[in-house]
Amino acid sequence: MNKNRDAVMKWVAPLLVGVVVLVVWHALVKAFDIPKYLVPSPAMVVDTLISDWGLLYSSLMITLKITFGAFFLAVILGTVVAFLFVQSRWIEVSFFPYAVLLQVTPIVAIAPLIIIWVKDPTAALLVCATIVALFPIISNTTLGLRSVNPGLVNLFRMNKASRWQTLIRLRIPSAAPYFFGGLRISSGLALIGAVVAEFVAGTGGTSAGLAYQILQAGFQLNIPRLFAALGLITVTGVLLFLLMVWLSKLALGGWHESEVAQES
């Protein structure tokens, strides 16, 4: 009973806030007769979304392609690097500062360079977004692979477990919660990276993503379309996050505290 009410609350409360905000927004725009090139009403944004759907949809697909591509690359690369790091302290000590360097350098500062070096615009965007999304995977997975219960390490040693058995049966499961934490952060960063890189690159034509639509809409004072594109990016980010939450629950649901806390 109580549990049910909590579950309803979890969905209904934020939705209610959203509806209230939209209603107030609509009312304010109507009441003060705010011109649509400053703030369009929510209804107008939805209208634009429908009328410009063809254009926005193809842009959304481009942005999604870059986001998922970069996220995928970051996961593969980050995991490989993390596994290399835990092979020896020397590798980690030697290379970790450069991973940090990659993280702290603003992508807008190095994007122009990458765009010059990488000829294909899609590939350039992919590289930029991957750089942004990479670090959380590296740092979380490395931390996870190192965060093994020392008692279990002793247990495996006393049972004469091979390096491979220890990796598969102990290190990887121990790292899983950290890895999935990294995924949540990284998925959002991949989207941000894809959008920011496109702002800098400003590629148009057939490979125009949502960022390009926002730029163009801004130049043309087509504010309803700007809002519609913005809305699509936001919804994409939220869905991406929910996807990661779901994946994490699927993998850790049975045993990890972070996923079972709500039941008890």
Partner: protein, 274 residues
């Protein structure tokens, strides 16, 4: 060493000392002397407790017996052999840790089966052994639970089941029930002594509880701190298998008094070294 057949080796494993600690000591890298040279012989079928204040090196000694630590000087023998012979039939050593050290991502039966999985044993046979071990420790019906769904005492039982599944000869226990409440601890003590008796195990048990030491042991090794050393050995002369009735006898109280006086002496001599 003269060559002997495997069968004879297995047979002799029942009569030779299980563990011999031959003037082994331990000095840590930072110069701390954890243990002065120790001499200790443990015979098959003994239930030994290492009793002492914290810092007396009882866990260090146990870890050396488990081969998780090397002695700085001196040596240890297991069944009159080096450690590389440990693990063959009749010479199996397992350890139960301070925490249950279960894998939180594995169900109870998979946790218990781990040593057999690591050894590459046949799955069907392994499952039968796991079921038997779980029944022995009273966890039948909890095969598919995750560790977090069990109480502290039950987690410890699962840990004991995991140690029994390989049919060990020597069981090392490092303050296994230290984190449990007294009622649960007494129950587990009574169960472990039954197991030891029925399975003809040799047990080395680290504790800082006097009552636990008296109740369980055939012989108590009282240790003192700074530097870690053996102060005295006390034989507990009470027939087995013991039951909870032993806890309320005069004899039990007398042994408890003797041990607590020795421990007081251990702390005094430790303090004077400061």
């Amino acid at each position: 060493m003269t060559p002997v057949s495997d069968a004879m080796q297995t047979d002799s494993a029942n009569t030779v000392p299980v563990v011999e600690v031959l003037s082994a000591d331990k000095v840590f890298a930072n110069g701390t002397r954890a243990l002065s040279p120790i001499n200790l012989t443990i015979q098959p079928g003994e239930f030994i407790t290492l009793l002492g204040p914290s810092g007396c090196g009882k866990s260090t000694l146990l870890k050396m017996i488990a081969n998780l630590l090397e002695p700085s000087d001196g040596r240890l023998l297991w069944w009159r052999q080096n450690y590389d012979q440990v693990g063959s039939p009749g010479r199996k050593l397992v350890m139960v840790f301070q925490d249950a050290t279960l894998m939180p991502w594995s169900r109870v039966q998979n946790n218990v089966r781990l040593p057999l999985d690591l050894a590459g044993d046949d799955r069907t046979q392994a499952d039968a052994k796991v079921a038997a071990a779980l029944e022995l420790v009273g966890l039948k019906g909890f095969e598919n639970h995750y560790p977090r769904q069990l109480s502290g005492g039950m987690q410890m039982r699962a840990s004991i089941a995991r140690s029994l599944v390989t049919e060990p000869n020597l069981l090392l226990m490092d303050e296994p029930f230290g984190a449990l409440d007294e009622i649960t601890r007494n129950k587990l003590d009574a169960d472990i002594i039954q197991l030891w008796w029925r399975k003809k195990l040799t047990v080395i048990f680290v504790t800082h509880s006097i009552y636990e030491a008296v109740f369980l042991s055939t012989r108590v090794i009282v240790m003192a701190a700074r530097p870690g050393r053996v102060l005295k050995e006390v034989l507990i002369d009470e027939p087995h298998p013991r039951t909870d009735a032993f806890r309320v006898t005069q004899k039990f109280a007398a042994y408890a008094k003797e041990l607590s006086e020795l421990l007081a002496q251990a702390s005094v001599s430790g303090a004077s070294d400061l």
